[in-house]
């Protein structure tokens, strides 16, 4: 059974279409990145998956309908919305006590062990912690809950690079074990490239690209073309071209590496470059149409 199975998932707010009939299958044990510009529908998709918003179309998460069976589903799903959602008045010790009290799958010792590695004091209130510490605290709670699906919506927004790096390291080393599924949305695409097993570009409520990391590395090649070979390279129909320090960097989809190696320096592009190429083209087409 797939962890998430969506067919024709649609959601409109008045005349604004946030999700335009998307299909989505996420198998167990994947780490999926949902990548898209602001207002692309990422959060709406996550809210539908979490049963926080009603939707049209078919959606099953862990075999359940998230809207009508939310109370059951929530026991197997953990969720970090963004850094601001922990109640500011609560003390760290109270937070642990409460989660232990209400969540049958919470392992308090695990959370305590994780917190021991941080500078977070038990007696502190959330409002007294820095943004980075609040995220560490939330992550400590979530990682101590034995769930099947973890949803992270911009989990590292507003954090400095050290905390962001630490966050994803902890997630991979201490949490992920191939029987869990993780969905992440973020703007900081570069930082999660090594974390993901799959990614999807979402734009204007639709998926415009859907790719596993293995396929990504096979299919997409970036070439820093030698000036003499630019015309020859362009003839191979790159999907995107940009200039860096006067040299042309061309991005190709599905062209043999050997063939390209003759034209210049070949490397695997970053997801961010592909994102700019794909979404940039989409936007240009949108404008043309």
């Amino acid at each position: 059974m797939a962890c998430i199975e969506a067919r024709g998932l649609r959601k409109a707010f008045g005349s604004t279409i946030a999700l335009d009939g998307i299909d989505l299958t996420v198998e167990e044990g994947r780490i999926l990145g949902l990548i898209g510009p602001n207002g692309a529908g990422k959060t709406t998709a996550l809210n539908a998956i979490l049963g926080l918003t009603p939707y049209e179309g078919q959606l099953r998460v862990l075999g359940r309908d998230p809207w009508s069976e939310r109370d059951l589903l929530v026991r197997d799903v953990a969720f970090i919305a963004d850094v601001a959602v922990l109640p500011r008045w609560i003390r760290v010790a109270q937070l642990l006590e409460f989660v232990e009290g209400v969540h049958p799958k919470f392992d308090r010792a695990k959370a305590e062990a994780f917190l021991a590695k941080t500078n977070i004091k038990w007696t502190s209130r959330v409002r007294e912690l820095s943004k980075g510490m609040v995220t560490q605290l939330h992550l400590a709670l979530v990682m101590a809950i034995d769930v099947k699906l973890l949803v992270l919506d911009e989990p590292t927004i507003g954090l400095d690079i050290l905390y962001r790096k630490q966050f994803y390291d902890s997630l991979l080393n201490d949490y992920f074990d191939h029987s869990r599924t993780i969905i992440i949305t973020t703007h900081q695409v570069e930082e999660i490239q090594d974390v993901l097993t799959d990614f999807k570009f979402i734009h204007r409520g639709r998926f415009v690209l859907d790719c596993s990391m293995e396929t990504f590395e096979e299919r997409y090649v970036e070439v820093m073309v030698n000036p003499d070979n630019v015309a020859a390279a362009r003839a191979l129909r790159p999907i995107y071209e940009r200039q860096v320090f006067g040299r042309s960097i061309l991005l190709f989809d599905g062209i043999e590496r050997q063939q390209l190696a003759a034209l210049g320096d070949v490397r695997t592009p970053s997801i961010a470059d592909l994102f700019v190429a794909v979404i940039g083209n989409e936007t240009a087409q949108g404008v043309a149409a």
Partner: protein, 286 residues
């Protein structure tokens, strides 16, 4: 699914967040006791004068500060309950913490019931305990002041702590049931409004009153609201001739329980709570 554990923890977390629920009554009780302590200056002389009155008036006169203490603490509980209800479902949307609460296996149903239990169960229970303790300390203080003049027993014989506590217990239950629709309305507004919960809770009611007055020159709605706020007194008790309620024979639970207004109010309360649950489910953070 067993809902008692989430409910228990949800109520506890409401008390963690809203410490005024127990701090405010204790603070008010401290003020009452301080005032009473000042009034004990010259108490022996006044007590002698009171003892010259006929027995019924003696008792009434001596009982007054104890009644005042109870009334003040009762009002405190109502005020805390009103402001708590107005803020609780609004506040968690405003600071987006609702997204955290919703990430845990506590249903909207349980969360709203826990919140409703604050004005309906927790505050009356706290009020009961604080009033009993306050009155007991007052009796001790007055006894200590009067004992040297040989009047120590005159308080004990006229302030009946045990029957007072039974009246109080009954009165608090009657009050909570009678006010349930008010708290339900406030919770529903709190779950619905995007800002200015107090105005949304009060102005629509005021508008109906004004409209009715202008259109029909009647004030049925205003009378209904007044009855909703104070009506329980006449249904749950028979007032003595001086307005005091100091005897168990004045309790009329039969009349109270057969008052249609009680049951209509409870149906409204249930409706408002169901609305609050649905709104909490559907509304997004502000």
């Amino acid at each position: 699914m067993n809902e008692t554990r989430p409910l228990y923890w949800s109520v506890r977390r409401e008390l963690w967040e809203n410490r005024s629920i127990y701090i405010a009554p204790v603070a008010v009780a401290a003020v009452v006791l301080f005032g009473f302590a000042i009034s004990t200056i010259g108490m022996p002389q006044r007590r002698r004068a009171v003892l010259l009155l006929d027995p019924a008036h003696q008792r009434a006169a001596i009982q007054v500060p104890y009644d005042v203490a109870a009334m003040v603490l009762l009002m405190t509980g109502i005020i805390i309950g009103i402001f708590y209800c107005l803020d609780t479902l609004y506040g968690e949307r405003r600071d987006r913490s609702i997204l955290f609460w919703k990430s845990l296996p506590v249903s909207d149903h349980t969360a709203v019931i826990a919140k409703a239990s604050i004005p309906l169960v927790i505050l009356p229970a706290i009020t009961f305990i604080v009033v009993i303790v306050t009155q007991f300390v007052m009796v001790l203080m007055s006894t200590a002041v009067l004992a040297p003049s040989g009047l120590g027993a005159t308080t004990w014989s006229r302030v009946h702590l045990l029957s007072n506590s039974v009246i109080l217990f009954y009165g608090l239950i009657a009050l909570a049931l009678w006010h349930a629709p008010m708290y339900g309305w406030l919770l529903a507004v709190s779950a619905w409004a995007k800002r200015a919960t107090f105005l949304w809770a009060v102005l629509p009611l005021l508008a109906v009153c004004i409209l009715e007055k202008l259109a029909f020159n009647t004030q049925l709605f205003a009378n209904m609201l007044g009855y909703r706020f104070m009506g329980h007194l006449k249904r749950a008790f028979v007032a003595g001739k001086d307005g005091h309620i100091d005897s168990l024979s004045q309790l009329t639970p039969g009349t109270f329980l057969t008052t249609p207004g009680l049951w209509i109010g409870l149906i409204f309360a249930a409706g408002f709570l169901i609305a609050a649950i649905r709104l909490r489910r559907n509304r997004e953070p502000i």
